[in-house]
Point group: C2
DNA sequence: CCGTTACCGTAACATCCGTTACGTGACCAT
DNA sequence: ATGGTCACGTAACGGATGTTACGGTAACGG
């Protein structure tokens, strides 16, 4: 019938988007830069996606899906809701090279939501799903808590993890991996979740 | 001698940078957009700053200075280190319209540090000064704590405040002002700082 | 009142951007 | 083998961008 397409092209282009976002920043996230990072030309990019924003949206969705899968595996491997909560939050820290890069990418996508309603909607949908996971794990770890207590503790944990990752990704010398993990453990202990 | 210059031009241009960053995003932060927001032309912008990045740096420094002054006033008005700590952290939340916009601007500038070493250096210097303030207030509130305990608690508080503000600024319906303040108070109480 | 100064606007420049049009050659069905 | 078809590269286009050059004119000293 026709020439066979590369089935992983969209995936590789998304990885290229993450790479450019992490190493060059949102301001240099151009079609040409993405194509260069993916080792192809702008022709392929525009053949797979109708426009630049659709490329960003696909890369955003795929990143959300990847972290969701990783987190589900962590949760499944954990022996208890308490252990799952800790593992799920720890994977979002900038305590590894990969975690640092992912945090930079996260900030880039968040900055890109300003002025892009569809990207903002994607952020909200996926972050709300993430929040429901934390709510569920907190409620399972502290069954006696009220809904308000669970909700408040979840925001403390989510905010602390995302905030510490953002701070550490921009200044890894000041916020070592050990310090970040200590802060997470301190938060969990102080809240009575460890 | 010569025609008098507008002494507040640099200040007004910085405010225009914040405005564009908050309402249009980093991707649309162009010289022309800033000039339009400031009600002038690109000629004035380039007359006051040698290039675009110098404009961004000045706007960044001025924003840091403004928040520093505001925070110093809050600290002075507070009756105790404990009250000062709470007030200083609360002003960074996205619990008001102004706080939400400032959080969006903060994220925009953070995303702009990728690939701009001078902007990154500015971020580090000023965020480290901010951290020293929190360290001092935590140490004053809990004099018996070790340096490690103070350092860990400071990261918990900074991360929680910045992270909650980032989350809330992108989804204010999910994270109400009351929820954010409750999360801050819960963190302070859980750590034994209230 | 007037000449000088430089603030600021206007307009152009080269470059880069997203997007489109078209060519080509690899692969599949026949 | 071979013809057709689509994946992908090449290259161009209009528009936007950062930056530069230049002109007018408001404001100050005299």
């Amino acid at each position: 019938m026709s020439r066979a397409a590369n089935p992983r092209a969209a995936e590789q282009l998304s990885a290229a988007v993450w790479d450019v976002l992490a190493h060059q920043g949102l301001e240099h996230l151009t079609i040409r830069a993405v194509a260069a990072a993916a080792g192809c030309t702008t022709g392929l990019v525009m053949h797979r996606f109708p426009n630049r924003r659709a490329l960003l949206r696909h890369a955003r969705e795929l990143l959300h899906e990847r972290t969701r899968l990783r987190v589900e595996a962590l949760e499944e491997a954990a022996g208890s809701p308490r252990e799952a909560l800790r593992a799920v939050l720890a994977q979002g820290l900038a305590s590894t090279e990969a975690g640092t890069l992912e945090s930079v990418v996260w900030i880039g996508f968040l900055a890109a939501t300003v002025g892009d309603p569809e990207l903002l909607e994607l952020h909200r949908i996926n972050t709300r799903a993430w929040r429901r996971r934390i709510l569920r794990l907190v409620a399972a770890t502290a069954p006696s808590w009220s809904a308000d207590q669970v909700s408040t503790a979840a925001l403390v944990l989510m905010g602390m993890a995302e905030g510490a990752a953002a701070l550490a990704s921009a200044d890894p010398e000041t916020y070592s991996p050990e310090l970040q993990e200590a802060a997470l453990d301190r938060t969990l202990t102080a809240l009575g979740l460890s």
